[in-house]
Symmetry: C2
């Protein structure tokens, strides 16, 4: 057993900004982006998931939320609620690696000893450099629908060790004039529905890119691919992204090749 | 049982900024303050604590971290990991009331259905308007030591229903020239030790203000009073605050009326 304050001293070696009631950073200009995502043992990962991968994924889920606004991740705070004996160093090392990989920094945290499942709750602050964040609400009928890469790999493998958030792709989509954007966290059908519902449009897809080793079902229903879906004015094309279809005027339409898409099978918590 | 997305729709009525991958706010000028604090059932509250009070306290613990820097709270994100059947509306109503009382806003959140104890993890973004945040590290030998109010009430009552963070008091201390500051979350002895250790000084107290109904032991060891301890240059006095003593050059000194203070009995998690 290690005491909380001894852990904090060790973590401070890894995260120099930690150590006061708050971290102090210089405010960027423009817009701030704020989000939080928590991972829970037994829901988002299992007791056999390497703890470094849990730390990594908790950071990436938050970075992906910033990427989905066309923003850049800046600072993270990490609250860990852990049973006695949990190797906090492993969680910290994975979280630090993910932050480094995505160009952001862990500046604060909180530790609680619990009897329950491990919870890693991360909050992120991002920024938009010289432009407007891309919301879910801006898609218009006639806009084209794009995705940053093939889908379904996470669902097909059931486990992606160290997924990467699409920060550069999200910034590129914003700069190209994306009208709406979301990341694929619950599955293509579910997340496309979130976007089209928020924008008041329908979606007519003619192509869904399926990852190697995955099926169309994996691509439509599987979450956690961390690809970005975005919409663009009809005349604009985006190098490197894949065109899937068009926004329609009928908010009830969700189709692929003229056939209705299955009801969103994306993961949903129930309370 | 209510689905996650139905809950999100209901919560959006209460928190209009929620609904995209990130909340978008205008960056303030100057410094940003970032912190996180999680409350766990069985550790920070019991299964009989009213859920509205849990939401309130989770927000106040975070606001207090901003107050302890001399800053003003701006935006909060709230991640709730809850067993099925938890009344999320109660948590939300208490959190919203606390945010409103302290002049800040809940702009984002995350919901996870778990089998474990209820966890309410909050992260806060604050700002410092036209000045420097007050760290723990700036106290110098000869500085005076102050507290914003009497201590021990929370420990004496074992339960403070809706504590208030000392935001205005923290801003006033910063503007008056406070050299170091911390909030009393672990207990006076523990938190004063954090401050003096970070600053490399000792503390010679001659007076500890004890709350009505509390003992000196409550005042020294009890946490969660949310009062602020701060240090000031010797010549400055702070109206409304209570002078407790003086910083000394010997980092090992922690005394009250010339006698050594007891070892810090403040709460500490063990992993």
């Amino acid at each position: 057993m290690t005491s909380e304050f001894a852990w904090i001293d060790r973590l401070r070696d890894r995260f120099p900004a930690i150590g006061d009631d708050c971290a102090v950073v210089d405010a960027p200009t423009g817009s701030l982006l704020l989000a939080t995502d928590a991972l829970v043992e037994g829901v988002d990962f299992t007791s056999s998931t390497p703890l470094a991968d849990v730390g990594w994924k908790a950071v990436v889920a938050n970075v992906s939320d910033v990427a989905a606004m066309g923003g850049e991740p800046r600072w993270l705070v990490v609250a860990v609620c852990a049973p006695a004996g949990t190797d906090l160093d492993q969680i910290a090392s994975g979280a630090a690696a993910a932050a480094g990989e995505h160009g952001c920094e862990i500046v604060g945290g909180d530790l609680s000893a619990t009897g329950g499942p491990l919870v890693v709750s991360v909050a992120i602050t991002g920024s938009v450099d010289g432009g407007e964040a891309v919301l879910r609400t801006g898609a218009r009928a006639g806009d084209t629908i794009w995705v940053t890469g093939a889908l379904g790999a996470a669902a097909a493998s059931r486990y992606t060790r160290r997924p990467r958030a699409r920060v550069a792709e999200g910034v590129a989509a914003r700069r190209a004039g994306a009208t709406a954007m979301i990341d694929v966290s619950d599955g293509l059908v579910a997340d496309l529905h979130h976007l089209t519902r928020a924008s008041g449009v329908g979606a007519a897809l003619d192509h869904v890119p399926v990852a190697d080793g995955a099926t169309l079902e994996h691509a439509l229903g599987g979450g956690e691919d961390f690809e970005l879906i975005f919409t663009m004015p009809a005349e604009v094309s985006v190098p490197g992204a894949i065109r899937m279809g068009t926004c329609t005027a009928d908010p009830a339409e969700q189709s692929l090749g003229g056939d209705p898409l299955p009801p969103a099978p994306g993961f949903e918590h129930r309370f």
